[in-house]
């Protein structure tokens, strides 16, 4: 059984598997624990996101604002959602995170996440008011908080001293 998740699934995810089958490549279609084809669901939505540099530098993005990463304030799930939205674009044009739309994690079990409880929609759920409750996949929470705290501070220092400025400049 092959599961193609997503709400909706990208048409290419469906049709390309059909093409794989019809061209005799079913043997190349590897599947993960949820029976998702690995070719689409191994990397994260973050792979190819145009905000990835801001993620690394801990620069906040927000609605109506150019540049910045949506992880810290508006609940982007790109770092923990397996899908190729930023590599196989939607309608051949774009993706949610490219237009400041936080990833909702619709290819992962549990969508809509946090059961839509108060405070969970387009907001990063936090511990103690500042530590994100969901951390990027592959990180222990403590490890992530320690590094993130350091990098976030470093990011500000770099901003002040003008290091790497090119990376987070944006223009209309």
């Amino acid at each position: 059984m092959i599961n193609i998740p997503g709400c909706p699934a990208h048409p290419d995810w469906v049709t390309q598997i059909l093409v794989a089958i019809s061209t005799g490549r079913i043997g190349d279609v590897l599947i993960d624990d949820y029976h998702r084809p690995k070719t689409f669901f191994t990397e994260f939505v973050q792979t190819g996101c145009t905000n990835a540099v801001s993620f690394a530098q801990k620069i906040d993005g927000h609605f109506g604002k150019r540049g910045g990463c949506l992880f810290y304030e508006v609940g982007c799930r790109g770092p923990m959602t397996h899908a190729s939205c930023n590599r196989i674009l939607w309608n051949r044009q774009s993706s949610k995170t490219r237009v400041n739309h936080p990833c909702l994690g619709c290819t992962e079990p549990g969508f809509p996440h946090h059961d839509l409880v108060k405070g969970s929609v387009f907001k990063t759920m936090k511990y103690l008011g500042f530590l994100p409750r969901d951390v990027p996949a592959g990180n222990s929470k403590l490890g992530y908080y320690l590094r993130a705290g350091f990098e976030k501070t470093m990011g500000k220092v770099e901003k002040i001293v003008g290091v790497n400025r090119e990376l987070y400049k944006h223009s209309k």
Binding site: K65, N91, R92, V99
Partner: protein, 528 residues
Amino acid sequence: MVKELNISPVGRVEGDLDVKVYMENGVVTRAHTQAAMFRGFEKIMEGKDPQSGLIVTPRICGICGGSHLYCASSALDTAWKTTLPPNALLLRAIGQATETVQSIPRWFYAIFATDMANKKFANKPLYAEVVKRFSAYVGTSFQKGVTASGRPVEVYALFGGQWPHSSYMVPGGVMCAPTLKDITRAHAIMNFFRNEWLESIWLGCSVERYLQIQTWDDLLAWVEENESQRNSDLGLFIRASLEFGMDTFGQGVGKFLAYGTYLHKDLYNKPTIEGRNKALISSSGFFDGEKYHEFDHLQIMEHVKHTWFEDVPAAHPWNEPLPTPVPSQNLEQTNFDGKYSWSKAPRYMGHAAEAGPLSRVIMNANPANLEHQFRDPLFGDILKQKGPNVFTRALARMHEAPRLYEMINKWLSEIRLDDEFYIKPKEQDGKGFGATEAARGALAHWIEIENGVIKNYQVVAPTTLNVGPNDDEGKSGPIEAALMGTEIEDPHDPVEVGMVARSFDSCLVCTVHAHDEKTGKKITEFKL
């Protein structure tokens, strides 16, 4: 002799609508529409984050998601008393319009026109040409039209990230902050759509020329003006419809309801329910067959006597409880004197009213429309000359493409890249109302927020308005009414019933209280 016909399903793309018609001597004497599955979207949102509708409701429908989003964000705007920058109103209008334009060729070729290739019309002179162009999958225009329909939503994706199922419209504005290259690309894509289908295949003339048409006689003269217009898909559609008699059946209730849409960039920066009508670019209203009435959402009542929900008195959506389902029956076992559909029966001032493009263009012909609103007399005249029927409903749908094409370009050009796209609102408890025109008609959401969570959320979709069952007084819903009196030539292939239902574009996936069928399985099986 009374014959009973069960037809299922009538919808071709998503979801299905079961129709039961009783015929006497080849004429439909009684009709019932059955929406066959409980969906429960409203129930899902009870007790949840107030913004849940932005995520949940677009998923009610795979082809009207942007319209649901337009309503969900507007309902929160009115509840939270947000401020909306002009750019946000423009980008929301562009999203709504591109979704609607997408639906025009897709509906025409994939759902409606294939019926014109039915052998019922085989003895008509234009039949051969209709079959050549409009046959499902193999018609010469079929693939081109369906492919072209994917273009406008590329523009939607530039601002919403993806179509369908974006949530980019949020209370206070939009998520995106487009750049110059997004705007220029959007213009280019729309230009491509015009060259690829709208002017070359559909109109056979320029958008500007088409928009000069003011009356039914103008339209007929336009068809005969030259070979290019006569032989365009629109020219052929008009000539064949008249030859095939598609203007002679499917009249319906003769009452029309539109909530209007496209809030003007400078007239709705402080969103209120009261200020909405005057801020619309495509006007709202209720036309009772004789005169226009100003739209007031408080006139809408939902009836559930014939719906598989626990009985409650007819009520306005704000005052309705979230529905409690009761056991349903399949079509064969249904007793139509009792409960027989998952759709509620909405009524406006007590009347069943038709929603859809025809209702919209009738409102656009209202002489009282303001300067900034569409003022297009064509369908005021067509209604007088031809009345509502299968043909005029389809023509209304198609008529919107050139105007929306023009508006999308205009709105793109009005976006100011240096200005705001979003103003963060203050969350609060309260009631909200948001509405729009989905491609297939009037759509609205009502929300009540209490203690920071959703207390009540009600959605009335255009398909609810059109496919709804009898009301508490036993009056038929619009499609039921439109079917009555229809002459059926061949009871073994009652194509007329399908044509009437499809002239409303009864996309059942759109009905919140109805059935979402997953398979894309194409053709109807007619059971006798």
